[in-house]
Symmetry: C2
Subunit: 305 residues, 2 copies
């Protein structure tokens, strides 16, 4: 290892975060921007911000959390078009002359949460991480290693069936993501506030959470329903894979008791056996911290190679 | 190995099956009886029937599929009381002076289905087996090995949340087993046929399937609803663990198109990615054939020890 810093990137559907830190310090310089409308535009902005944070330093390695599908070196987002044409990982390697390792945001979040808990001396052989954000993703770690399933499509908690209604980003009906994601929460609240089915407005799940805190009954009910449905999916997850711990992160997980209380109550009522449910230690930053772990893995592999 | 036969036992909530076969032949002598009202009574009948099938031979090993929880050497059924006091495995070892290996019926069914497919040259790294019978169970095999989860409670597909209603055998509400098991199918149909909420009668899921074949609209609708709900749970299972193959066995899986067609349609409509769904190769006998595999494993371990 040199004392060059690590670069961590968390590319989301709504916001993109960057952080630069050396291998030993927990202190990082970081910045965030609203994700642009296309993949290429977001990448251009990302490179600009990364160069600014790095000043004239070359990173030791780059870790990437990507909010979408990551299969091998290919990335694709259901929310932001054009990423599939950017050759993201190769571009980052060329740009920074450093090894790059990426994973989808749920896997990165799971790794970030597992690492911080392992450092605290905790052992979680079967850890599930769920991110409730613009979309809803999830990942399963078995002894700290991502479980990928047959086609790299495991952990898709957002596409579990929880309802008869709600058109999902994947084109199916009744999925958790269509009924309880940040986007669904914003759209449902906006539809009731504004009386429009497909409101063209800038209301976000954060606005809904703030309104619920102020006592808005519509916002409170939408968050309650979303929390219950996430709880249903987590009870089903517990029945199927019997995890030690389910960690819930992503922006919506920070919406407060209006969302969290019905979630916990639904799990308590509906899970056959006891399962521990925790807030993400890193709040909405689990994936960014997981990206540092991915960067460390990339650096270690490049030393071995 | 000697040429002593293997004894396979499939102890279910409704019926109990026994088979005796040598290690190489697929031919077996078998018998079935209606499970008695308690564990001790069923065990006494089981020992009697086994001695009859074995004539004066001592088995090489005994494999047991048990319809209930199997944790270590302890067994417990939610449907048949008293099993927890029988010391089942130790009793079988003493009785037959042979090694005994047991698993719950879903794990045994999964092993039986995996083995027959492996012999046919098929490879299924992630195989899920679901048994829709008196209750609904399931098991996950990763590279042919049962995945147990943190507390030995994985694969409990019957306790996934699919509804807001239906009181489950485990005391929770809304689980698949409470809405789509053989018992639920029989009770719902009987309630409509007889107009009673908790009908005291002998209608079984098999009677419902036969009535649906004859065109009975109540039976057809109950089986349709059950098939849809099982399909919903399998779509959620596919999203979470991305299996190569889901095998559906148990008596209700043989109820015909009234049950199977809505199941397949629900998966096709609601699973985000493609997953193959198969009937069990062994029909309702997967667990009995898996019990032979367990007996073979017990014999091999006892040779090593």
């Amino acid at each position: 290892m040199t004392d060059a810093p690590f670069l961590a990137l968390d590319i989301g559907g709504t916001k993109t975060a960057l952080a630069v830190a050396d291998g030993t310090s927990a202190r990082a310089q970081r910045t965030t921007f609203a994700t642009e409308r296309t993949g290429p535009d977001t990448l251009a902005r990302l490179l600009h911000e990364a160069r600014r944070l790095l000043t004239d330093r070359r990173p030791e390695a780059v870790g990437v959390s990507f909010g979408g599908h990551v299969v091998g070196r290919n990335v694709r987002s259901l929310h932001v078009p054009g990423w599939e044409d950017t050759d993201l990982f190769a571009r980052l390697e060329r740009e920074f002359q450093a090894p790059v390792r990426g994973a989808n945001d749920a896997v990165a979040g799971a790794i970030g949460e597992h690492t911080i808990r392992a450092r605290a001396g905790e052992s979680w052989p079967v850890l599930v991480y769920v991110t409730v954000s613009t979309g809803i993703g999830g990942a399963i770690l078995l002894d700290g290693v991502p479980y990928h399933g047959s086609h790299g499509l495991s952990g898709e908690i957002g596409h579990m069936v929880v309802s008869d209604t709600g058109l999902c980003s994947c084109g199916r009906t009744g999925h958790l993501e269509a009924n309880a994601s940040g986007l669904a929460i914003a759209r449902r609240t906006a539809a009731e506030w504004l009386g429009a089915v497909e409101p063209q407005c800038d209301i976000t799940a954060r606005d809904v959470a703030e309104a619920a805190r102020q006592g808005d009954p519509v916002a409170g009910r939408v968050l309650f329903d979303a929390g219950r449905l996430v709880g249903d999916a987590l009870a089903s997850t517990a029945a199927l894979i019997d995890p030690d711990l389910i960690v819930v992160g992503g922006g919506v997980s920070l919406a407060g008791p209006a969302f969290w209380t019905p979630l916990i109550e639904a799990v308590a009522e509906k899970a056959m056996s006891r399962v521990r449910i925790d807030h993400a230690t890193h709040g909405a930053d689990s994936a960014l911290w997981g990206a540092f772990d991915l960067a460390r893995q990339a650096a270690e592999e490049s030393l071995v190679a």
